[in-house]
């Protein structure tokens, strides 16, 4: 992430903050000392394998579940308090509505609960792209339409903070693109969004920062670039052993690693010409030299550890 973005974030207000949130179920610690902060105008991605504790954390942030330790504040008020919920829109887990009511009537019931006018319901149905099907019963909705209705419900109060648990589940590619642009638009309108997802591509495209949760703990937090780590220069040369020795003497052991017939260098891209000249002048045949960035997926899998790799999307 650019320095400009970091500076903007530093100047923006923290609207959601968790400190040491912990939740235990019997002898299992579902969430273990989670601390995070979301700024206004920012989309924070909440990434983690199944069972990592993302949904439990989100439940604590909207007051559905009480933490065993730690505190959370939303808009400066204790998370889950009526004052914090007044400025929070949430969709935690799959969208749940009354099956015998239409989508519109479901939203009208929620709007009445917080004293919102009927016009607001029409407005969010429009934003979520289900205005034409608003009169249909919820029980007849497809998964994608249910997701859209869930997001519409979360937007109903025009909240400052949005907590969205896998909002693109079940959406078709067009729906995913709509949702992406909707969420980015919310951030541009200075809303804070905490978004959990299994879709790494989606996280990369939507989020300003990412917090990675593994076995209830935050194992990494930062911008996408920070999580990926510095780009590497991949070198293929023969004889590979001589090439490696030459590069180690040039750059130091900590910046050089060898994997089979490839050597990976952690260096700035501008150093590539110097490296190639050094190898050629040492009589080494240089076959390939390319810049390689670690994907978010690779970074995520490395953080998740072997036991979770099979569960991630």
């Amino acid at each position: 992430m650019s320095t400009v973005a970091s500076e903007l974030r530093a100047s923006a207000a923290v609207v959601l903050r968790a400190r040491g949130l912990t939740k235990r179920y019997g002898h299992i610690t579902a969430v273990d000392g989670v601390s995070l902060a979301v700024h206004s105008g920012e989309v924070l991605g909440f990434l983690g394998p199944n069972g990592a504790g993302k949904t439990t954390t989100m439940r604590m942030l909207v007051g559905l579940v009480r933490p065993d330790a730690g505190t959370a504040e939303v808009l400066g008020r204790p998370a889950g308090s009526p004052a914090s919920l007044a400025g929070t829109g949430a969709m935690v887990e799959s969208p749940a509505f009354y099956p015998y009511l239409s989508g519109r009537d479901n939203l009208r019931a929620l709007a009445r609960q917080v004293g919102l006018p009927r016009e607001r319901v029409e407005s969010v149905l429009e934003i979520a792209g289900i205005a034409t099907r608003g009169g249909d019963r919820f029980s007849g909705y497809s998964l994608g339409m249910k997701q859209r209705l869930g997001v519409a419900a979360a937007l109903l109060k025009d909240p400052e903070v949005l907590i969205l648990d896998e909002p693109t589940n079940g959406l078709d590619p067009l729906g995913i693109a709509d949702m992406r642009s909707l969420i980015r638009g919310l951030a541009e309108a200075n809303k804070a969004v905490l978004l959990s997802s299994h879709q790494l591509g989606e996280i990369e495209q939507i989020c300003d920062r990412v917090a990675v949760l593994v076995r209830g703990r935050i194992v990494a937090e930062g911008t996408i670039d920070e999580l990926r780590g510095a780009p590497q220069l991949v070198v293929r040369a023969t004889p590979i052993g001589d090439a490696e020795a030459q590069l180690v003497s040039l750059l130091g052991r900590d910046r050089v690693s060898r994997q089979d017939d490839e050597i990976r260098l952690t260096i700035a891209p501008e150093e590539a010409p110097r490296i190639s000249r050094a190898l050629v002048s040492a009589g080494i045949d240089l076959h390939e030299m390319r810049r390689e960035e670690r994907s978010l997926e690779a970074a995520f899998l490395a953080m998740s550890g072997p036991s979770e790799k099979g569960e991630t999307a």
């Binding site: 439940r59 909207v62 007051g63 559905l64 579940v65 009480r66 009526p82 919920l85 007044a86 929070t88 949430a90 935690v92 887990e93 799959s94 969208p95 749940a96 509505f97 009354y98 099956p99 015998y100 009511l101 009537d105 009208r108 019931a109 929620l110 009445r112 609960q113 917080v114 004293g115 419900a153 109903l156 109060k157």
Partner: protein, 277 residues
């Protein structure tokens, strides 16, 4: 303001629910059948003049205040337990409680709005039921050429208030069970078994076990039956309606009120304190 909003929202949802109208329609149909239609058939077919006169007297408008409450303590109550359990339990089954509470102005406000909406519906049910009962008694009076004497307004008001209170007690019983078990099936099953079976068995056992006779005086259904008996409801001979003056009217009223508050408070406390998964 938050409570009014919650109340309006709950009323909006519950009155659109098909199951509500099914339960209320069945309740009204059973009430008319067992309170007026079957007793009238019994009167018409009676061979004993004294028995016939007794039956007819119960069915005329002058006896409306007591007769209209016949079904409230037991079978009418059991259907209202189902209503309470269904409304509160479905919130868990559908997962809507999460959406409700994470949108809400507070758990207790949501709960009180829900209870108030149910009590409003029960008040409307009692008014409609008394209207139907009054109409039935007028038709029977006109058919039998009996003298039509209007019931006393104060008796009628007391009777309606007591009937509403009994239904509210059974409704909160259903709500408390549904909140305790976080669903509908078990709470409906246990609630109905309690009202229709357990209390009747305890009544039957009370005649032979003195300790049970003491316990019986504190049961919700027994006290609801005693309250109806105190308001002129026809005492049950076969034990079916549960109307019997086992305790005095004042005690019955107090016990029904205590149960109402107890069930409502238990459900409220559970909802307030427990995690919602």
């Amino acid at each position: 303001m938050s409570f009014i909003n919650s109340y309006a929202s709950e009323l909006f949802k519950v009155r659109r629910r098909p199951a509500l109208w099914v339960i209320l329609s069945v309740w009204l149909a059973l009430m008319l059948l067992f309170t007026y239609v079957f007793p009238y058939v019994g009167y018409r077919d009676a061979t004993n003049a004294r028995e016939a006169t007794g039956l007819l007297t119960r069915l005329l408008p002058a006896s409306l205040a007591g007769q209209a409450l016949t079904g409230y303590p037991v079978w009418g109550g059991s259907l209202i337990v189902v209503l309470g359990a269904l409304v509160a339990g479905s919130e868990y089954g559908w997962g809507t409680l999460k959406a409700l509470l994470s949108n809400s102005p507070g758990r207790l406000t949501v709960y009180l709005g829900q209870i108030a909406a149910l009590f409003t519906i029960l008040a409307a049910l009692v008014i409609v039921a008394f209207g139907c009962s009054g109409l039935a008694s007028i038709i029977i009076g006109a058919t039998t050429h009996a003298q039509l004497v209007a019931p006393s307004a104060s008796d009628l008001a007391k009777s309606m208030a007591a009937g509403w209170m009994i239904l509210c007690m059974w409704c909160t019983f259903g709500v408390a069970l549904a909140t305790l078990f976080r669903g509908t099936a078990l709470s409906i099953g246990l609630g109905v078994v309690w009202v229709l079976a357990v209390e009747n068995l305890l009544r039957a056992t009370a005649a032979i076990v003195p300790v049970i006779a003491t316990v019986e005086k504190g049961l919700p259904g027994v006290n609801a039956g005693a309250l109806v008996a105190a308001l002129g409801g026809p005492a049950s001979t076969a034990g079916g309606t549960g109307i019997a003056a086992i305790v005095g009217g004042a005690q019955a009223l107090a016990v029904v009120a205590v149960y109402l508050v107890l069930f409502a408070a238990t459900a409220g406390l559970l909802l307030k304190r427990r995690d919602v998964q």
